[in-house]
């Protein structure tokens, strides 16, 4: 659902890249396990393929563009996300450039990194998160880890909303913008967010018990 606002710090974490989240899923005919398998295969092959086989990289790039168009992935958030991550790829590519001839070289690093980035992002855009815990459970990831992940996703937006509300309430009573103490106040909000999170966790445990959780 568009319009989920993550506060005035513009962070590129968007919950879904799709403008109509949760309503229709692209490639719904493909089970999430297969999507995961395809994604992993693409990533592994791209990561180890030397640049001499450039047709692989070009081909993969073209495939990704096609997938994105067919899947009606919202391009702007996707590109923004890529832009956000690009400096890391660029930085390491630069460092690789200094390594000299024994290393893979900066074009390879940049190409591999960028391509793998796109693969994962498009996978994330076409797979609703709700499917992921089930898939991971079937693959054999321990239950505690999967439960933690599911609860994390469930309550992430709730907590972000709470932190937004707290900061908004604080702004209403801040008459002089004190840059110096911005840290302190932000940290207090985060601290109270943790307290609220742990209180909510207690209540969730009670709600689970009330419905017979063992």
């Amino acid at each position: 659902m568009s319009g989920i606002h993550f506060g005035h710090n513009h962070t590129p974490y968007a919950p879904e890249f799709r403008p109509t989240a949760g309503v229709c899923v692209p490639f719904a005919w493909l089970a999430p396990e297969w999507k995961l398998a395809v994604m992993l295969t693409l990533v592994v092959v791209t990561a180890v393929m030397p640049l001499t086989y450039w047709f692989w990289h070009v081909g993969a790039g073209a495939l990704l563009i096609v997938l994105a168009l067919v899947g009606r992935v919202a391009l702007k958030p996707l590109l923004w996300r890529v832009l956000w991550l690009l400096p890391f790829v660029a930085g390491a590519a630069l460092a690789a450039a200094w390594h000299g001839p024994t290393g893979p070289g900066w074009p390879t690093v940049a190409a591999r990194g960028g391509l793998c980035l796109l693969i994962v992002l498009i996978f994330a855009a076409v797979t609703p998160f709700g499917a992921l815990p089930g898939v991971l459970r079937r693959v054999g990831v321990p239950a505690l880890l999967v439960t933690t992940m599911a609860l994390m996703h469930r309550y992430l937006f709730v907590l972000v909303d709470e932190s937004d509300r707290m900061r908004r309430a604080r702004t209403c009573r801040t008459f002089m913008p004190r840059r110096k103490f911005g840290w302190r106040l932000d940290a207090e909000v985060i601290g109270r967010l943790f307290v609220r999170a742990s209180e909510r966790a207690e209540r969730i445990y009670l709600a689970m018990c009330a419905r017979g959780w063992k």
Partner: protein
Amino acid sequence: MTPPALAVEKLAYRYPDGTVALREVSFQIAAGECVGLLGPNGSGKSTLLLHLNGILPDKPGASGTVNVQGELITTANLEAIRRQVGLMFQDPDDQLFCATVEEDVAFGPSQLGLAKEVVFERVRQALARMGLTGYERRTPYHLSQGEKRRACLAGVLACEPSILVLDEPTSGLDPRGRREFMALLREVPATKLIATHDLEMVVEMCSRSIILDGGCVVADGPTLDLLDNEELMLAHGLERPHSLHHLRIEEPFFWKPPQQLGK
């Protein structure tokens, strides 16, 4: 003689930090009754509700007893008790902890160990009763308050409890959501105990009321007698509901046209 649906006897509770939440609370609720639990904030209503399905105290029977359908709550029969007593929490976000509505409503039945088809059927029925057919795949985050409350109730009803305990079910709802919820609640045939500040709802739905203040039961009787007693209401952080200012209601579930009365 059939045992009462709920029988609380001299229940006391003290929080780990020392605050006394309940002192010698005793009351009984017969099967099929709809009882309102009233009281100011901090009176111990929510704490009392947590005792009714064995969540509190950690060691049942330490101070006071709770009997459900004649059976005493002990550490051994907590599962069976929770099957009979469905508790709906105040904050729907605490209760809707699964990724989708369908999963959440299915949580209770699957914890009961029922077969997949039975669970599926119960989920379908519960959602249909709450008017939420088609909401199966929706995430709780994207629902409105009214829809969340209905999803919570669906999740509790899917376990088919005989006793329904609700903590402030209409708080934060818009008038339409509130009316819809009350209409749905009226159709549930279970014994109901509703902790609420919504006095108008109590007048409309509950034949009997219990007033809790400072951890003690200060009044227990027919709703109209209690709620019409202005002194009693004001003394315990409540007030006489407006519907009783202007109307004389003989039967709580029939509305008569407004009459002038000397009160």
